[in-house]
């Protein structure tokens, strides 16, 4: 079986979906059901192949599997290269899983331009699979940008309310990030070509790029290019404002894709590209990014609390949940990284399911305003049960999938920086507050509105074809998550090892938890003010404070000894190829950046040929 699917699995899946797209495009618009059936069978057959891929995936292998590598644009060193490893497998499977569900969930909702809608759906799935399996930066970028167009159309054409504004905002925002990333990709390829292993060979292939160690003085700049693109996609605070608009106005399938998969492109990008390519820059930026993540966790939670639109509430809760995921990533702790990876899947499932559920009630009532509901538990018991399950998964109840991810992330983060974990726990607490608040307002209490008394409960399709499969995985991942964790373990370990080992050669002092010096100065001034003219009192107070400070420091610094910030380990397996780099060297000691860049372009074979 492995040999049967192994080499061509990913291209075959892509080809299947492309053929599906063409078939849909050739079907006359009048045959709406045939269009749906075609799309469904294309996505389902892709899912079947995906299941075979998963079954023949070797969890002990940390490198690429199902690798497909073909010449594409040889003159710029870009290859048509796909592959799966532990990092991409979960998201690859999630994409294939949500594909058919998106078709099923839109059966009643989409009645106009059915053909175009399904073409857009298939294109998004193609692009997402491309992003999650590409092994070439240019290919990655191509799929990344291709995704924007069908997504833009999904929101702008089939959305509700202020959809054009939301769509344009989404498009421009992410496009700006994407262009920055393109610049950074070219810069990375060039910077890598300057290092010893490549010896001037210009390439976008990830494997070749990972053999090098990019000059740390350039890393920060390149990293920022990537980071902005990813941060917009995740979205991290303060780049999050496109998300509530886009989520709210998109049709149900669009929201599911947005929340379930599109956001993951950002966090996946961090894991796949930013961490391994720019370890030094990651370390420099980690405190900032972790801080932004923590802000997102709390900010998103509070924002969810004061929303009156159900979809908006869930959208803001996505901000909070994704904050926890990025927090896990920037702790560089293997457990937390693994947790982040699995949490991406969990969030995709539970938030995706919540959006599906909101879509179902919107179909019936044409409103999403929380105040319009109340007492739905009476009228729609099955709907209530599914909503409660999804909601509990979202707030991390043990036995459901959300708990596994949150627990792993927080265990890992705690060992890196306990303060961050404490802040993360506040976010988890907040999630219970706003979610239960939502549940009480919508489902509990007496049925307050006359329109709600006649609502019909879930149909067979909604209950068994759409919600039941997701619910099954919510429980399966909550009770026995190992089947999805194990394949990723090796790859995650490889990423963290690479990051930490690269870092070991150029240590900077660990980031301070407390800005100790500022606090000391402030305390000193206070003491002087309080005990004016009484030197003995001043000295007593100072020594007391110093004792307290030492005690506190001993207390708080203690848990950090295992932290990556003080990691002293061996060089990685990749370390042999690393470029020699002096510890004391700084940006100023190097040649000016522009000279380097010019030189690089002069020596670039691509440019020379012109």
């Amino acid at each position: 079986m492995p040999d049967l699917v192994s080499p061509a699995a990913i291209p075959v899946i892509l080809a299947l979906l492309v053929i599906g797209t063409l078939l849909v495009a050739l079907t006359p618009s009048a045959f709406a059901h045939r269009i749906r059936a075609t799309t469904l069978s294309a996505t389902l057959s892709a899912l079947v192949i995906g299941i075979f891929v998963f079954l023949s995936f070797d969890p002990s292998e940390s490198g690429w599997q199902f690798s497909f590598d073909y010449e594409w644009l040889p003159f710029i060193g870009s290859r048509l290269s796909f592959g799966l490893d532990g990092l991409s497998l979960p998201l690859f499977l999630l994409t294939l899983f949500l594909g058919p569900l998106c078709v099923l969930v839109s059966v009643n909702e989409i009645e106009e331009r059915v053909k175009e809608f399904h073409i857009c759906l298939l294109l998004t799935e193609i692009a997402l699979i491309g992003v999650f399996t590409a092994r070439d930066l240019l290919l990655f970028y191509a799929f990344w940008e291709v995704l924007l167009i069908p997504m833009f159309l999904l929101i702008a054409v089939w959305g509700s309310g202020n959809r054009v504004y939301a769509a344009v905002k989404f498009l421009i925002y992410t496009l700006v990030g994407g262009l920055l990333m393109l610049v950074a990709i070219i810069g990375t390829a060039w910077a890598a070509s300057q290092t010893a292993p490549l010896q001037g060979r210009f390439t976008f292939h990830l494997d070749s790029l990972l053999m090098t160690r990019i000059d740390p003085s350039l890393q920060t700049l390149l990293f920022l290019g990537f980071a902005v693109a990813f941060a917009i996609k995740v979205p991290m605070f303060p780049f999050h404002t496109w998300l509530p608009d886009a989520h709210t106005e998109a049709p149900t399938a669009g929201s599911v894709i947005l929340a379930g998969l599109l956001l993951k492109m950002g966090s996946y990008g961090f894991l796949r590209l930013a961490l391994p390519l720019f370890p030094d820059a990651c370390f420099q930026m980690a405190p900032l990014l972790a801080f932004l993540s923590v802000v997102a966790v709390i900010y998103g939670g509070l924002m969810s609390w004061v929303q009156s639109d159900i979809k908006r509430l869930i959208a803001y809760s996505s901000v909070a949940h994704m904050g926890l995921i990025t927090l896990g990533i920037f702790s560089f702790h293997p457990t937390a990284l693994l947790g982040s990876l699995i949490q991406m899947v969990n969030h995709g499932l539970s938030t995706g399911m919540l959006f599906m559920l909101v879509g179902m009630i919107y179909e019936r009532r044409h409103t999403r305003d929380i105040n319009e509901f109340g007492g739905l538990a009476h009228v729609m018991p099955a709907y209530t049960a599914f909503f409660l399950i999804a909601l509990l998964s979202s707030i991390g109840l043990p036995g459901l999938n959300g708990f596994v991810g949150e627990f792993l992330i927080l265990v890992g983060v705690f060992q890196a920086q306990w303060v961050w974990a404490a802040a993360g726990i506040i976010g988890v607490l907040l999630s219970a507050v706003y979610m239960l608040w939502l549940f009480r307002r919508v489902f509990h209490g007496p049925v307050s509105k006359a329109e709600n008394t006649t609502l019909t409960d879930l149909s067979f399709r909604e209950k068994w074809l759409v919600l039941a499969p997701v619910t099954f995985f919510l429980f399966l991942l909550g009770i026995y998550p190992v089947w999805l964790l194990r394949p990723s373990e090796e790859s995650v370990r490889r990423v963290t090892e690479r990051v930490l080992a690269e870092r070991a050669s150029a240590l900077t002092p660990p980031s301070k938890v407390f800005p100790a010096i500022a606090v000391q100065e402030l305390a000193d001034d206070t003491i002087q003010f309080l005990f004016r003219g009484k030197m003995d009192l001043q000295n007593t107070a100072r020594s007391g404070l110093a004792n307290a400070h030492n005690g506190l420091e001993a207390l708080f610094q203690q848990p950090f000894q295992g932290s990556p910030f003080r990691f002293r380990g061996q060089r990685s397996a990749f370390g042999g190829a690393a470029q020699p780099f002096d510890e004391g060297e700084s940006l100023a000691d190097r040649q000016p950046l522009t000279d380097d860049l010019l030189k690089g372009f002069q020596e670039n074979p691509f440019i020379k040929r012109r």
């Binding site: 905002k169 421009i172 925002y173 303060p238 999050h240 404002t241 496109w242 900010y299 509070l302 924002m303 609390w305 004061v306 929303q307 007492g375 538990a377 009476h378 509990l392 109840l397 043990p398 036995g399 708990f403 627990f407 927080l410 265990v411 705690f414 060992q415 306990w418 974990a421 404490a422 726990i425 506040i426 988890v428 607490l429 219970a432 507050v433 239960l436 608040w437 549940f439 009480r440 489902f443 509990h444 209490g445 007496p446 026995y480 190992v482 964790l485 194990r486 373990e489 370990r493 001993a554 207390l555 203690q558 848990p559 295992g562």
Partner: protein
């Protein structure tokens, strides 16, 4: 019967199967749902009793560490994740309490919930709770404990909000979940810290590793213990998270008996007992984490007892009493009375479940919770009355009922370890006796103050459990008398000091109880109150009574007028709403502004660019062409000699150039 993996798994899963059956086929089962649930939980109860018998007989005959085993091992990379259980004497007692007491409460529910439209759903949730609670007591690791901990919290949420049409019930359910989650946040951090310090989550390994720790890490173990205790503060409703439990009385009364009196709320106490080696590092006398436990417990015990004095709702009195007694247990554990605290847990489960079921029987008869509207039920409900008297006596600490022995043990331990706490304990004992007598007086004595009600005795399905539990409340105490303390022999902590029996604390505690009863009798039984608005205590202590009736103004979740929270909470919400404004208009506004400005500037720029550069380039090219053309036109003279001259000059220049290049 040995506690093999199969047996424990059956004990654990039988109620879960009942849950699944009732959830999926509840609509068809209707009244039979109770039968399914009762038989499967009964199976688990019988197995638990057998296991209990086995563990106890083994322990009494010699040194016995308990059963340990794994249900499932999950390989995860280099490590192995083992889902294990342990059955020692403490677990065995908890098993019996959960399944045995639980079974009778469930039986009682058949009568209490009869005719409810969601009858099968109720039994489904109750079975799920049983299963989760059994997982909680069986787990041998922190993850299992925490998972079960959250699951019982969920069941509590579902059952408090069982009558979700009532807004108060829905609100109370949410309050319970959120307030306990506050404690669970600390619990989570405690787990992470423990894992950081010891590198493991299995109890045995943790204790083993913790012993080996030195220096600062050994200090941090106490911090971890206190963080874990935060979970107990939430779950066992200790100050300042005690506020959810009284509201939880909105749920059906059997739920209050099972979850909010006998089992789930005792989980916090159980957890402290289970993790006692962590709390008792480096040793019991010098452990500051145990000091925290003792003082929180003492404070809560006293606080809740004073509040219970001034409540009119029959269930709320019992709820505050539960909070107070849970504080008592923690007080006992905190002062080093390990077996005393846990013994009180066991006896309390019996008599408090009895009291709750009795109150349910009363509510069932008179359809009100307000004690001021009851009165004189002694004649109408004799069985309920007499069993209630037994429960009340056990709670107040009247010999030889069970509560007397366990309470006395706690006070004895406190007397030796910590005199101030002992005095708080005595005061609490006095107040306990007082408010229970007040309750009895208001409910059963005097005349019926509600002319519309026609009280009657409850059906046998309800009074049989009362009688069984009353028997338990009388008899359970005898396994822990100071003269022959079997319980201590079974459940004890190696490092705990054992003191010889001292009569003084026993005499004092008995005196406190009798004084409390006399005071209560004097105020409420000898002179029954005149009407629903009459309150003899308020006549005596005035505004202090209002202070107590308002729960010391401590409810930070639902603050009332003079509390700072009353002003703070709305301002916090206002802050969050302001944050929404900021998000919408500033964070997002910036995005929009940048977008707009860029579009505007680009448009302007493009216009100028188009006008002057693109268009200009075209014009410029045309102009240049014209210019060059004009220039060249001038040399187009039409004279052959001019052309020849130019040609020759050119040739000469080329020749000169070539020559110059060839020169060295």
């Amino acid at each position: 019967m040995d506690a093999t993996p199969t047996v424990t798994a059956i004990i654990l899963l039988a109620p879960f199967v009942a849950y699944l059956i009732n959830v999926f086929f509840g609509g068809r089962l209707k009244e039979k749902a109770a039968f399914v649930s009762l038989s499967l939980v009964g199976l688990s109860a019988i197995l638990s009793l057998l296991v209990f018998y086995h563990v106890v007989s083994k322990s009494l005959s010699g040194h016995f560490e308990g059963y340990r085993g794994t249900w499932l091992t999950v390989p995860l990379g280099s490590k192995e994740l083992a889902l294990g259980y342990q059955v020692d004497t403490l677990t065995a007692f908890m098993l019996v309490v959960v399944t045995f007491v639980g079974w009778f409460i469930q039986l009682y529910s058949v009568g209490y919930m009869a005719g409810d439209p969601r009858f099968s759903r109720y039994f489904a949730f109750l079975s799920l709770f049983k299963s989760s609670m059994l997982l909680l007591v069986l787990s041998d690791n922190l993850v299992g404990l925490y998972a079960a901990w959250e699951l019982v919290g969920l069941c509590s949420y579902l059952l408090i909000g069982f009558w979700y049409e009532k807004p108060e019930a829905a609100r109370a359910a949410k309050k319970a979940f959120i307030v306990t989650r506050c404690g669970d946040a600390g619990f989570g951090l405690g787990i992470f810290l423990t894992f950081y310090l010891t590198g493991t989550l299995s109890f045995q390994e943790i204790f083993h590793q913790a012993e080996a720790l030195t220096g600062e890490k050994a200090q941090l173990i106490s911090l971890a213990a206190v963080l874990l205790f935060c979970g107990a503060i939430g779950k066992s409703a200790q100050f300042p998270l005690h506020i959810w439990l009284p509201d939880a009385m909105e749920g059906p009364t059997p739920v209050s008996a099972l979850i909010h009196a006998a089992t789930m709320v005792a989980a916090g106490v159980y957890m402290v007992g289970r993790l006692y080696p962590l709390f008792a590092t480096p040793m019991i006398e010098a452990s500051w984490s145990l000091q925290v436990v003792a003082w929180i417990g003492a404070l809560t015990a006293f606080l809740a007892a004073t509040i219970a004095v001034a409540q009119d709702d029959i269930k709320r009195v019992l709820a505050y009493s539960t909070i107070s007694q849970l504080g008592y247990m923690l007080l006992g554990l905190g002062v080093g009375g390990y077996s005393a605290g846990l013994f009180h847990l066991v006896t309390h489960a019996f008599f408090k479940a009895l009291l709750f079921l009795g109150s349910g029987s009363v509510i069932h008869a008179v359809h009100t919770n307000d004690m001021k509207k009851m009165g004189g039920l002694k004649e109408a409900m004799p069985i309920t009355f007499w069993t209630y008297i037994i429960g009340m006596g056990a709670l107040a600490g009247i010999p030889p009922l069970s509560g007397f022995w366990s309470k006395d043990e706690i006070l004895a331990a406190a007397y030796i370890a910590n005199k101030p706490i002992f005095i708080v304990g005595l005061l609490t004992a006095f107040l306990t006796a007082f408010y229970m007598t007040r309750q009895i007086g208001l409910v059963f004595f005097g005349k019926n103050r509600d002319p519309h009600s026609h009280p009657h005795e409850s059906p046998p399905v309800m009074w049989v459990p009362l009688v069984v539990l009353a028997a338990g409340a009388v008899l359970v105490g005898f396994i822990g008398t100071p003269w022959y303390n079997v319980f201590h022999k079974l459940v004890h902590f190696e490092g705990a000091p054992h003191h010889p029996f001292k009569p003084l604390p026993m005499i004092l505690s008995l005196a406190a109880a009798i004084l409390g009863i006399l005071a209560g009798q004097n105020l409420y039984i000898t002179n029954p109150i005149k009407g629903p608005d009459d309150e003899p205590l308020r006549r005596r202590i005035g505004r202090l009574y209002d202070f107590l009736a308002n729960r010391w103004y401590l409810d930070w979740y639902d603050p009332v007028k003079p509390q700072p929270g009353y002003y703070l909470t709305p301002s916090f919400i206002r802050f969050t709403i302001a944050q929404r404004w900021v998000d919408l208009h500033i964070v997002d506004g910036m995005v929009n502004a940048v977008g707009y400005l860029t579009a505007y500037i680009l448009a302007r720029f493009y216009r100028l660019f188009d006008l002057y550069v693109v268009d200009g380039l075209v014009n410029w090219t045309a102009w240049i062409t014209g210019f060059i053309g004009n220039g060249l036109r001038k040399i187009q003279t039409g004279l052959v000699q001019h052309y020849m001259f130019i040609v020759l000059t050119g040739l000469a220049l080329v020749a000169l150039w070539t020559l110059m290049k060839q020169m060295p």
